[in-house]
């Protein structure tokens, strides 16, 4: 499992080069936008928010892959989670970093974004705490801090393992990353309780983050934004797209790093079932949202409703329904197609569908606000599309880099799992001391 850390293949450099080129082009597009102004994007009166905010919501949604899922699986002590957790937690951290970029890219004057920080300035002005954007700022920063900790904590023993196996510069680098880990019982106990605390703490944070993202929309009195369902609807959608991203990442890693013996069909099957559940839940939310709007028949909302149902946005809407509902249910409710390929195909559909869902939330409502005179249709420009493509490339780039530098499967957790599955008689299977002994990466004498 630590082979990719020790050896570098040609494929790694190929991915770095390809993804790096796209990211560089995206950076160029952003520089172009910074120089000339937001006008180089397709944003207009009245569609002042469009593709950037779509991607913001989308990536924050993807970020619910990890921390939330791995925290739940950790808390319910699902044994099969062990090879999956780190794959998921990394998605969270990188997706959050990418997602949090978008509100800044989207600003008219991004060089002043620091005014959202509550810092003591001589003008004695704080951010406006009544604004959902200020809530966003705190929610996302809390979640990012929490998920980075959640990712880093269980990496410490694996850093120690590499430190003990490596020579030269790697030994030095990983030695300092291991923070003096020696694998003592005390250290294991502390790690276990820290992970337990983080798993419990991260759950409400993750739920609140996407609820607050939904508040950006539902707090404003805009047709089909101003809805009480948005909080849970966004959280469900986020977990939905997060699981899909996790399945895709697992399949890619399994192929690229030859992890067939760790990432088993069982893992895809279980995540596939979760995806199926979320697909049904998502469909339930959309049905609720649409039915109440249609039945209520309020004319401002109906303009948006018909634009998405059978107007200019209808192709996106029906593609979304097929990708998010029809396809996953068809593939995943059938045990014969709930295999690795079936799960990956359904997940790709869900990622596309969830992106369209975010787009359909952000854009049509602004195009059809209350005064018919001010209706207008948004079309993206190449600059926006380039920046969007660059963020997907950035995800691949960061992910490949991470999988290269850190064992993508938590080695000590796998060892602990082996031990739990084959307990010796008379001893509690979950005894942390025994797990510690079994998974100990180094003898105390060898360290430092």
């Amino acid at each position: 499992m630590i082979r990719p850390v020790m050896n570098t293949t040609v494929w790694f450099w190929a991915i770095m080069l390809a993804a790096g080129t796209v990211v560089a082009c995206g950076a160029g597009a952003w520089a172009y936008q910074l120089w000339y102004g937001i006008g180089v994007s397709g944003k207009r009166w009245p569609s002042f928010w469009a593709l950037y905010l779509t991607n913001f919501v989308f990536w924050i949604g993807i970020s619910h892959a990890g921390t939330l899922i791995s925290a739940i699986l950790r808390l319910v002590n699902a044994g099969w989670r062990r090879p999956v957790t780190r794959v998921a937690e990394v998605i969270t951290v990188f997706a959050l970093m990418i997602g949090a970029m978008f509100p800044i890219i989207h600003l008219g004057r991004p060089w002043l974004a620091f005014w959202l920080f509550p810092y003591p300035s001589d003008r004695e002005i704080w951010p406006n705490f009544r604004s959902p954007l200020a809530w966003d700022f705190f929610a996302i920063n809390t979640y990012l801090t929490g998920s980075v900790l959640f990712l880093l904590l269980p990496m410490i023993p694996d850093f120690a393992l590499i430190r003990d196996k490596a020579t030269g510069w790697r030994k030095k680098v990983y030695g300092s990353l291991a923070l003096g880990w020696r694998g003592t019982t005390k250290q294991w106990n502390r790690l276990e309780s820290a992970m337990q605390i983080m798993a419990i703490a991260i759950l409400p944070v993750a739920v609140s983050v996407h609820t607050i993202v939904s508040f950006d929309f539902s707090m404003a009195n805009v047709p089909m934004w101003h809805s009480t369902i948005f909080g849970p609807y966004f959280v469900a959608g986020a977990i939905f797209s997060g699981i899909a991203a996790l399945i895709i990442a697992m399949a890619a890693l399994r192929k690229a790093l030859h992890l067939e013996q760790y990432l088993l069909p069982l893992h895809f099957e279980n995540l596939g079932k979760l995806l199926l559940l979320m697909s049904i839940l998502w469909g339930y939310f959309v049905f609720n949202e649409r039915l109440t709007v249609w039945y209520g028949n309020e004319h401002h909302e109906m303009a948006v409703f018909w634009a998405t149902q059978r107007g200019e946005y209808a192709p996106f809407y029906w593609t979304m329904v097929i990708c998010n509902f029809v396809l996953p249910i068809a593939l995943l409710s059938n045990p014969y197609t709930r295999n690795i390929i079936g799960c990956v195909v359904a997940s790709l559909g869900v990622v596309v569908g969830m992106w369209l869902e975010r787009f359909l939330i952000v854009v049509p409502s602004l195009s059809y606000k209350a005064l018919p005179y001010s209706w207008g249709t948004y079309t993206p420009t190449p600059v926006e599309l380039m920046i969007m493509a660059a963020t997907f490339a950035a995800m691949i780039l960061l992910y490949a880099l991470f999988a290269k530098l850190v064992p993508i499967i938590a080695i000590w957790e796998m060892k602990a799992g082996d031990f739990v599955q084959a307990p010796r008689s008379g001893v509690g299977a979950g005894d942390p001391h025994r797990i510690a002994a079994a998974a100990e990466p180094s003898s105390p004498g060898a360290a430092s």
């Binding site: 102004g37 009166w45 008219g108 005014w115 805009v222």
Partner: protein, 235 residues
């Protein structure tokens, strides 16, 4: 007593000539955009004349409605601004501090009336319009929101002049550029806190209504029009 500036617009008097739009551009240094940019939704008109058509050709009636910032008492744009660029000032105006705006454009989304405009590019004026900028009004840079201010520079000047004489601003002595330019005097501006001002009397007229009043923003502009149920009366 504090001022509370308000407006009444008589849409029965409006001819749709758009003199108010031109006057507003000239007074407030509002940039002009190319035809191509205008077709992409980048035109900035702090006041616009909305046209609504009734009936089918050739029997068509056109209704004009000048729409500008309604200076709402319960303004949706103000709460959502994360930097207090949009805020309520002591005269009840929805003030916009350009230098404080970072361009989240949230205010424009929250605004029910779509009367907020964004500087998608740095401002430009075709020659020789660049020589007639109003020195009392700041020019806005790329990336900030702007909107109708009720000609706050004129309000400031009138208040200062009145204060120097220890008086209050007399009704009718102060008007924004749109009201001044209107050939049919369809636009009336004044202090709603002064019960004898023309605008305060028009605000309670039975011909009056507020734009999208049911959405609860409490706009300070009253639109006057003959209502169907007034057929017998002569207001």
């Amino acid at each position: 007593m504090a001022y509370r500036w308000g407006m009444a617009v008589d849409i029965d008097k409006c001819t749709g000539c758009e003199a108010c739009v031109v006057a507003c551009h000239a007074e407030n240094n509002i940039p002009t955009v190319s035809a191509q940019q205008a077709s992409r939704g980048r035109a900035m008109h702090w006041i616009r004349v909305e046209r609504y058509y009734e009936g089918n050709f050739p029997d068509v009636k056109v209704k004009f409605r000048p729409v500008l910032c309604q200076q709402c008492d319960n303004a949706p744009c103000e709460a959502v601004c994360p930097t207090y660029a949009a805020h309520h000032n002591e005269d009840g105006l929805n003030a916009q501090v350009y230098n404080r705006c970072i361009g989240t454009r949230y205010c424009a989304n929250a605004c029910t009336y779509n009367v907020r405009f964004f500087n998608f590019f740095n401002p430009e004026w075709p020659k020789p319009l660049h020589l007639q900028l109003n020195p009392d009004v700041s020019v806005r840079e790329v990336g900030v929101m702007e909107k109708c201010t009720f000609c706050v520079q004129r309000i400031k000047a009138a208040k200062t002049a009145a204060k120097a004489e220890n008086k209050t601003v007399a009704d009718g002595t102060l008007q924004p550029a749109c009201a001044q330019a209107c050939p049919t005097s369809a636009i009336v501006f004044g202090d709603l806190n002064d019960p004898n001002s023309r605008v305060a009397r028009l605000a309670t007229s039975p011909r009056g209504s507020k734009l999208l009043e049911d959405l609860g923003a409490e706009p300070k502009i009253t639109y006057l029009a003959k209502q169907p149920w007034h057929e017998q009366d002569s207001y």
